[in-house]
């Protein structure tokens, strides 16, 4: 289950996860992973039969010696000592050293034939092993002490013949021949004789006839009692009434009833005292975690997931998932956060984050944008990126298409698709995405979830459900109508994106390869993308798409703003998505729709809120920083390649962002998010875009909660986030974060970004800073849920991550591994891991080649997005206490944040570790992230809360932003995961985000696949297929590793599995996330988008795709 779910989550969550992965990615993963690990440990410890700690020494360790000596206890024996003396006594006991104790022992002497005298007997004698030569037990019945296990043993031939009244000679047994007919008849007669022995009258008659005995039996029992003489006398009536009254009193007494109940209780002892109570309700609470932890057959998982989703957040999530992350988010958020308008907003924000998965990217982008403008450097890289991207696009777009394309064309397709996709397109368009989106957008549904949502919804799924509202409409349509489609598309896209990034190396590769350079790019992109995606998503998809297109690379900020504006548009679209979602899933869809509507409202608020715009601006600035980073990265790594990669990344990001946006739009404010996503993606490409998107997302979230909060949080968060991203990036970067990010960028990036965020602080303070801005925006949202905690955690994480990065990574790895198994639950897991590994490998090179730092940056960014997305998800789930718990579990060290972050980190770590280890690692991380997300999902509830808090916290701010971004992706993931892991994601915003990021990054590919799969399930075969196809291709290209491909497919499959059920969506998400490895791209979509923003376009794509995917899935 866990693995599969993780995988599904990865894919599905991929989008979502990526965002988380990006921002909180590391934290979330770690948290999730930690949660899972803990769970696993708990289980293992719990399940594992308590191993007898008693260690036997000496002859006690010799089983046969113990047996033979014990069997002669109580027997008379003669002990011959060294000097020849013989002592006789009753063998009492023996020690481990073979000291023998004889009771009533005496020394045998020749004269004492008669026996020992009383005074010759010693109470007991202890013989040292060194004192006796031999002990002679005479005439021992070896079977004396033999315990007869059962009656059957007492009636074996040997047992019967062995002992017969003390006659110790073999007894000849004769076979019994009861006759053939009579025997059976008689036996049957006995069997069928119901009478309980003799009838009394028969006995009386028999005795009378044979013995002449006449019974004196009197049935009236006159000898013992007297008959009641009834009369009508007043006295009698009075007494009778009295008796009746007393009887009633007695019978009406609770005590009497209780005692009667005991007698009449038909329940068995087993049922009453032994059986394990299994209540569906209980499961809902813990079910997710438990179930996820438990291995559940893939099929069942899906069911479970579905059920979960439906059970818990399913309806909401489902709707969200169906529609996209937004729905789920909205649903979850709404459900969880809904209580509080702020919460809602947060939710929205969070929801945005969900969208963020798509949004996350967007959110990040916004943040980046904001920061970007401010810190354009990194994202400014965007500027540079743009150039690079342009090149990259040209060169990579193709690859991307192919990568994204997997769904459609690999990278370009997705990206373009996404770019084309109104919303998606925008994100991608903005950076790479634009082109990608545009190209891919259509092509794709595949391209990004975002695209999908936009395009896919409109075009691909076309479900068009929603095209209705232009961007929003499309998104909504995608989301709602296509929710699944969009998800599918998203997923596909995400996968594509992820794949594109990683596979083709276009997006992810770029991030990854360029990683170092691109990494920076990625990071920026990631963060930007996240933001941008988020923002884009948040914003109207179409608007985003437009924005993306218009701004394509740098306009991100503008787009971000536009996106922000769009969000409002998107918000409208949301409803549509919901509607769409409803149509697909019907009831679930309806729920989702409702959720979506809520999200829409929220999104509107967000989008409408200037905060989004601000966030976007921030994101833009961030993006600018990211772009700078990217540039740096590019410069570090081959500029062109990096650029290309970045471009691809951006594209991927865009794609992801798009996906995210789609997903977002579908789900909560999927439309808005999607829109944002697009923007984000576009921004993501430019970084600023992402940042802006993220900001937007954050803003959205904040808007939900409060714009002010967003802003405030943005700054704090931005810083914090940056640190995280940096910190994580470092770890990750060192390994292969770059590539992973780049390639994984979709997913990985997201994850790494989260980590990067942590690590990045060191490496890329600027980025971090940028992220922070985003985070602030996010934070507001998060803060609302759990701001304080998040902040702390974020800080802790950062600090911890940077230093602890390795550990976290390890943790993450573990978690990831854990996650994998769990998520894999089925084949997916297994497959995914390899894929990841392979992917990682592929990526790693790139990443390494490029620049670890860059990679880190991407990671951070991506993580941030993830974080955001997680946060968002977290918000959704945050609602649930579990998240907190998880955080606690996960981080335990850090506050909630820490927990979240840790979880994220954990996830991220896995990713990061992987990435660090090799490109593949990223994927793993991503995949793990996805897994983590999946895990997280189960835990998601916990995570969500923490995440949100984290996000809320300044540090987390980034994370939040990331989360937001990631949320978009996460949201998808959540949606997917929602059912399963969303809770986790949510729980560990950062972690989730990380997870998301990771997942997203990975997911992107997977996500898209997942979305596709989901969509297929939804009844969007084409979308799924496209996605799948894209994934493979994307994955391969990006990852160049077949395994990745396999993963992606698996992820897809998983996602597909998940999709089938509403809840399944969540699984799907997970699946996607896992696939993420390859899918990471997909994941990246969601998460990546966030990440993409930071990383570059890839993330945006990733995020967007993922988001979209998520949204779709959710829908």
């Amino acid at each position: 289950m866990s693995l599969k779910q993780a995988a599904a989550a990865a894919q599905a969550a991929g989008n979502n996860r990526k965002p988380p992965g990006g921002g909180g990615g590391p934290g979330l993963p770690s948290a999730a992973g930690g949660g899972r690990q803990n769970m696993g440990r708990g289980r293992s410890s719990g399940k594992g039969p308590p191993q007898p700690t008693i260690s036997f020494d000496g002859i006690y360790a010799n089983m046969r010696m113990v047996h033979i000596l014990t069997s002669v206890v109580g027997s008379k024996c003669e002990v011959q000592v060294k000097n020849g003396g013989i002592y006789e006594g009753v063998f009492k006991t023996y020690s481990p050293k073979c000291d023998l104790v004889l009771d009533a022992a005496h020394r045998k002497t020749a004269e004492s034939s008669l026996g020992p005298k009383r005074e010759d007997i010693l109470e007991s004698i202890l013989f040292k092993p060194s004192d006796f030569v031999m002990v002679h037990f005479k005439d021992m019945d070896t079977n004396y002490a033999r315990r007869v296990p059962s009656e059957t043993d007492a009636f074996t031939d040997s047992a019967i013949s062995a002992k017969v009244n003390g006659e110790h000679k073999e007894k000849d047994l004769e076979p019994w021949d009861g006759g053939e007919t009579t025997a059976t008849e008689e036996l049957e007669a006995l069997e069928t004789d119901v009478s309980n022995g003799w009838d009394p009258n028969d006995m009386f008659r028999y005795n009378e006839e044979n013995y002449g005995v006449v019974s004196t039996y009197d049935s009236s029992l006159s000898s013992y009692t007297v008959p009641l003489e009834r009369d009508n006398s007043e006295e009698f009536l009075k007494r009778e009434a009295r008796a009746t009254q007393l009887a009633e009193e007695i019978e009406s007494s609770a005590q009497y009833k209780a005692r009667v109940a005991l007698e009449n209780d038909e329940r068995t002892e087993e049922e009453k005292y032994t059986a394990v109570q299994r209540n569906a309700n209980e499961r809902e609470g813990h079910g997710v975690n438990t179930r996820e932890n438990k291995y559940i057959p893939p099929g069942q998982r899906n069911r479970d997931v579905l059920s979960w989703g439906s059970g818990r957040q399913n309806a909401p999530r489902m709707g969200q998932s169906g529609s996209g992350p937004p729905i789920s988010r909205s649903g979850s958020h709404a459900s969880e956060f809904s209580p509080n308008s702020g919460a809602d907003q947060r939710v929205v924000n969070g929801g945005v984050p969900w969208p963020s998965p798509c949004p996350s990217p967007s959110s990040r982008p916004p943040s980046r944008y904001q920061s970007g403008p401010n810190s354009l450097p990194p994202r400014a890289a965007t500027p540079t990126r743009p150039p690079s991207r342009p090149p990259s696009r040209p060169s990579r777009p193709p690859s991307h298409p192919s990568a994204h394309g997997s769904p459609a064309p690999v990278s370009t397709m997705p990206k373009r698709m996404s770019s084309e996709g109104p919303p998606r397109m925008s994100p991608k368009a903005q950076r790479h995405p634009r082109g990608h989106r545009v190209s891919t957008g259509r092509g794709t549904i595949s391209s990004g979830l975002e695209f999908v949502s936009h395009n896919a919804p409109g075009e691909a799924s076309t479900t068009a459900v929603a095209r209705g509202s232009p961007s929003g409409g499309t998104w909504s349509s995608v989301v709602s109508g296509v929710p699944r489609l969009s998800p599918k598309t998203h997923r596909p896209r995400s996968p594509r994106q992820s794949s594109t990034p990683t596979g083709p190396a276009l997006p992810s590769p770029q991030p990854g390869t360029i990683p170092t350079e691109s990494v920076a790019m990625p990071v920026p992109a990631a963060s930007p993308t996240p933001a941008s995606p988020a923002s884009n998503r948040a914003v109207t998809p179409s608007s985003e798409a437009k924005d993306t297109r218009l701004q394509d690379q740098r306009q991100n900020s503008a787009t971000g703003n536009k996106e922000n504006i769009k969000p409002s548009e998107t918000s409208p679209s949301f409803p549509k998505p919901e509607n769409k979602g409803v149509s697909p899933i019907v009831s679930e869809h309806r729920k989702q729709i409702d959720d979506l509507k809520k999200f829409k409202n929220d999104f509107r608020l967000q989008s409408s809120s200037s905060s989004d715009a601000v966030d976007q601006l921030l994101n833009k600035t961030r993006e600018g920083e990211k772009s700078r980073d990217v540039v740096k990265e590019k410069t570090e790594s081959t500029p062109k390649e990096s650029i290309i990669e970045t471009g691809s990344n951006t594209n991927s990001n865009g794609g992801s962002s798009k996906p995210n946006s789609p997903s977002i739009s579908p789900s909560i404010s999927n439309s808005s998010e999607q829109k944002r996503g697009p923007e984000v993606t576009s921004q993501g490409v430019q970084t600023s875009g992402p940042g802006s998107k993220q900001d937007k997302e954050d803003k959205e979230e904040k808007k939900d909660t409060s714009e002010q909060v967003r802003k405030s949080t943005l700054n704090p968060n931005a810083k914090e986030f940056n640190p995280r991203s940096f910190a994580q990036p470092k770890p990750s970067t060192t390994p292969t974060s770059p590539r992973p990010q780049a390639q994984p960028s979709p997913s990985m990036v997201g994850h790494q970004q989260p980590t990067p965020v942590y690590t990045q602080p060191v490496c890329f303070a600027p980025n971090m800073m940028y992220p922070v801005p985003v985070s602030p925006g996010v934070q507001p949202l998060y803060p609302i849920p759990m701001t304080p905690m998040p902040v702390n955690q974020a800080k802790t994480y950062r600090a911890g991550k940077v230093p602890n990065m390795p550990q976290q990574r390890q943790d993450q790895h573990h978690q990831s591994t854990m996650m994998h198994p769990a998520s894999a639950a089925g084949p997916p897991i297994v497959a995914t891991p390899p894929a990841y590994s392979t992917q990682y490998v592929a990526y790693s090179p790139q990443q390494f080649p490029n620049q670890p730092l860059v990679q880190h940056v991407p990671h951070y960014q991506s993580q941030h997005p993830h974080v955001y997305s997680p946060v968002i998800q977290g918000n959704a789930r945050m609602m649930a206490p579990p998240t907190h718990a998880q955080p606690g579990l996960v981080s335990s060290s850090a506050t909630q944040y820490g927990a979240h972050e840790q979880t994220h980190a954990m996830y991220a770590c896995p990713k990061i570790p992987y990435s660090k280890e090799t490109g593949p690692s990223f994927y793993f991380a991503i995949s793990t992230g996805s897994l983590a997300q999946q895990y997280a999902h189960p835990n998601a509830t916990l995570h969500p809360h923490p995440p949100h808090p984290q996000p809320s916290a300044t540090p987390t701010g980034q994370q939040q932003s990331q989360h937001a971004g990631s949320h978009p992706a996460p949201s998808p993931v959540q949606h997917h995961q929602h059912q399963a892991a969303q809770a986790l994601h949510l729980a560990n915003p950062q972690q989730q985000s990380a997870i998301y990021h990771a997942g997203l990054a990975p997911t992107p590919p997977s996500m898209t696949p997942g979305s596709n799969t989901q969509s297929p399930q939804n009844s969007f075969p084409t979308a799924q297929q496209t996605v799948f196809t894209i994934h493979p291709s994307h994955v391969q290209p990006a990852y160049t590793n077949p395994p990745h491909m396999a993963h992606v497919p698996q992820a897809h499959v998983q996602s597909g599995m998940v999709p089938s059920h509403p809840t399944a969506h969540a699984p799907m998400m997970l699946m996607t996330t896992q696939p993420p490895g390859g899918p990471q791209a997909a994941i990246a979509q969601s998460a990546l988008q966030p990440i993409p923003v930071s990383t570059t376009t890839h993330f945006p794509y990733m995020t967007h795709p993922s988001v979209q995917a998520h949204h779709q899935q959710q829908l």
């Binding site: 000496g58 002859i59 010799n62 089983m63 046969r64 010696m65 047996h67 033979i68 000596l69 014990t70 069997s71 002669v72 206890v73 109580g74 027997s75 008379k76 011959q80 060294k82 020849g84 006594g89 009753v90 063998f91 009492k92 050293k97 073979c98 023998l100 009771d103 009533a104 005496h106 008669l114 026996g115 020992p116 005298k117 009383r118 005074e119 010759d120 007997i121 092993p129 060194s130 006796f132 030569v133 031999m134 002990v135 002679h136 037990f137 005479k138 005439d139 021992m140 019945d141 070896t142 079977n143 004396y144 002490a145 033999r146 315990r147 296990p149 062995a162 002992k163 110790h168 000679k169």
Partner: protein
């Protein structure tokens, strides 16, 4: 063959000679290398079927250890033991011995002791009172422990005890006869052989 690290595999026949120049042979039941303890199972010295003598040999004081034949098949699984049953046996055995020792210390004749053992097999409720055997608190058997020595309230108990005593001496007598006959046979055989 013995598994690596083991010198004796369960089920194999081993012979050895103790430091008291006593020849031992039996089937390996268990062997503990650290303590150099070897558990052997030998045919019952009394010839009872289903019974066996268990020897715990300290190999530190044994020489000429030979493995007559090795058993490769895996030994049968160990049956679980009824520890409480063993504990009860140990307690009763001890009580019997103490009781017997009491009688011996009181100067009871061998016949008396043998009779006591015989009665004790059938009736647990019997004890020594000085040199008298008290059965069920009703029947007292005084030396020389013949049937006519059984005193007590007339009843089933007394008659039952008398039956036991009567049978006991009859069995003892028959055993003596048998031993005598056996001895005679051996003498004849020896004479014939000689």
């Amino acid at each position: 063959m013995a598994a690596p690290g083991e010198y004796f595999s369960v089920g194999s026949q081993v012979s050895c000679r103790t430091c008291q120049e006593q020849r031992l042979q039996g089937e390996v039941v268990a062997f503990d290398y650290p303590s150099k303890m070897l558990a052997l199972k030998c045919p019952s010295s009394s010839g009872k079927p289903n019974h066996a003598d268990i020897l715990l040999v300290n190999l530190q004081y044994v020489s000429e250890v030979e493995i007559i034949n090795d058993r490769t098949e895996t030994p049968p699984p160990l049956a679980s033991l009824n520890v409480s049953k063993l504990a009860n046996k140990a307690r009763t055995e001890k009580e019997e011995k103490m009781s017997q020792a009491y009688a011996i210390s009181a100067g009871v004749s061998l016949e008396g002791q043998q009779l006591f053992q015989t009665i004790h097999k059938t009736i647990k409720d019997c004890k020594w009172q000085e040199k008298n055997i008290v059965v069920m608190e009703e029947v007292v058997i005084a030396p020389p422990y013949q049937v006519e020595n059984c005193k007590g309230k007339e009843g089933s108990a007394l008659s039952h005890v008398r039956k036991i005593v009567e049978k006991h001496f009859r069995d003892v007598e028959s055993q003596k006869v048998m031993q005598r006959s056996q001895a005679q046979q051996t003498q004849k055989e020896t004479s014939l052989s000689s």
